[in-house]
């Protein structure tokens, strides 16, 4: 198992050396970073904590990182962790009262949705600092690209592989911890879990922070890779739902599910758009929607979940 994992990582890390075309390299990086966000989301999603607001944490992390770089010259190598920490702090600020006051289920989902929209609108409204809806670009530093984390495709590929492996490792570690069992119990019956001594709020907070942290990490790295930040694609409903779709399509109950889902949704979107091209406007989202519904109807536990069940 561990050997297979290392072999897989080695193959992934070696791929760019064999002259993978740039466009596929680009999609690969986008996929892995989006897989990090999806995996992060599923870490809490699989315990019944459904958030529609992970965009909020991504937006906070990405903008913190880029603003620190542009205005204070702080390297993203520090700015990124700082941004992710701030994103997690925002998650704590939002989640703690939710858990204490028992805002659950659809109510929790909608509260997080509102939080995502607030962050998006604030980024737009604070346009003097953030560039508003025009977006912002991190200041280029061609002489000092490494320090500025402006790595180009190969560098980012390896960074993405690393971060992705870290996300999976964390998942694996959670699965083996007591917390996984506690959270399963909580997701089944919160009161019963509390009555057998599980510290409900604490466990939920922990998984929420980890989840928000990975989403923020994946999203902010994506912004750094593209060297472009935009409120629409980093905060708000659009990105939040995109993450959920990916996690769900792949299967949020298995470790590789969100990754497969991210790869699947990106591949599907690209293929549909490119193959329908500009001939039938609207056909791509239509087919995407149909496939999504069919997937949920016939593979309710996602692609990976389906394979696991058959085995």
């Amino acid at each position: 198992m561990i050997r297979a994992a290392i072999a897989l990582l080695a193959v992934l890390a070696a791929l760019p050396l064999f002259g993978l075309p740039e466009y596929f390299l680009h999609l690969g990086i986008a996929t892995m970073l989006s897989a990090v966000a999806c995996t992060g989301w599923a870490m809490m999603g699989r315990f019944g904590l459904v958030s529609f607001g992970h965009g909020a944490f991504i937006g906070i992390a990405a903008y913190t990182m880029a603003l620190l770089w542009n205005y204070a010259g702080l390297t993203p190598w520090i700015g990124l962790p700082a941004g992710v920490a701030l994103g997690m702090a925002a998650a704590a600020l939002l989640a703690y009262p939710c858990f204490r006051l028992r805002v659950v289920g659809h109510y929790f989902a909608l509260v997080t949705l509102a939080a995502g929209e607030i962050v998006r609108i604030l980024i737009v409204a604070l346009r003097n600092i953030t560039g508003g809806s025009l977006g912002m670009t991190p200041r280029l530093s061609p002489d000092n690209a490494l320090a500025a984390m402006q790595l180009g495709k190969h560098g980012f590929w390896w960074l993405a592989v690393l971060v992705w492996a870290f996300a999976l490792l964390t998942w694996w570690w959670i699965d083996r911890s007591m917390s996984a069992r506690a959270l399963t119990a909580i997701s089944e019956d919160e009161d019963a879990a509390a009555s057998i001594g599980i510290r409900v709020t604490r466990e939920k907070m922990m998984i929420t922070l980890i989840s928000a942290g990975f989403a923020a990490l994946g999203g902010a790295l994506g912004a750094q890779y593209r060297l472009y930040l935009n409120p629409e694609s980093l905060a708000g409903i659009g990105i939040s739902l995109q993450i959920v779709f990916g996690a769900l399509a792949g299967g949020m109950y298995s470790m590789l599910g969100p990754t497969v889902g991210a790869a699947f949704t990106i591949a599907l979107e690209e293929t549909l758009r490119v193959s329908f091209g500009t001939a039938f406007i609207g056909a791509a989202p239509l087919v995407y929607g149909v496939l999504l519904v069919l997937f949920i109807l016939f593979l309710p536990r996602g692609i990976v979940g389906w394979f696991e069940r058959r085995r």
């Binding site: 109510y107 909608l110 609207g282 519904v293």
Partner: protein, 284 residues
Amino acid sequence: MDPFLLEAIVNGILLGGVFALPVLGLNLVFGVVDVVWLCYAELVMVGMYCVWFLHTQAGWPLSLAFAACLPVVAMLGLLLHLLVVKPLLGSPPITQVLATGGVLFILQGGAMLTFGTDFRSLGVEMPPMEVGEIFVSGTKLVAFVAALVSAAGLWAFLKFTYVGTAIRAIARDREVMPLMGVDPQRIYLVASAVGGGLAGLAACLLVVQLDVHPFIGLSFGPITFMICVMGGLGNMLGGFLAAFLMGVIISTGGFWWNTEMSYVVAFVFFIVVMFARPRGLFAR
């Protein structure tokens, strides 16, 4: 009182009228079937296209186009239930929500394929009314009254018919319903059709105020969900009142601060309400 502030408040209440019907429909479906239709605003969009097409392209009189819109969208609600929601009734809520999210893409894509991406306008208007220094849009006022009348009609249906009473009962206890001879599946169908019909009704009221395009749902979809939750999911009266509250908050927030930030004010208010009243502002 500042007449302009008063006007902003009146406008907020009228805006609440815009939100009220979708909120009622969404709440009805949620209360009965226990599923959130993420594509609800897109059903409204289809209804708006339906009215636009029948009136401006097929040349039907407006009243007839309105009358046709209701059954069409109601039918769509039924189909949505039968094809997507029903097979997922036992699944986790997130799966159900996401499946209806898939339908959202289908409806948007379908609208683009059928009608293109242009903005379509009905071109119907009514003269404004002037009361003192306050101006009130005639169109909005009529839409507002229509929303109130429809809400009252819905209330009467739920209050005075057997099916309506069963709908209110099922929201609390679905397992016991067969003991009364009620087939929950049939009630789900009725609720889905009525929920769809309300989307159709909302479409009729919106199409005279807003241009229709495939993405119009994005304009009022998210806020509709929030209002629904704020009033208490499944709580019709709560949702109805919350619609007006939210309308006034957006309107006066825009008046005192600015139009952009008014939504931040509204969303922050929503979150605070959720913390204070986790089951909705008007939960019993």
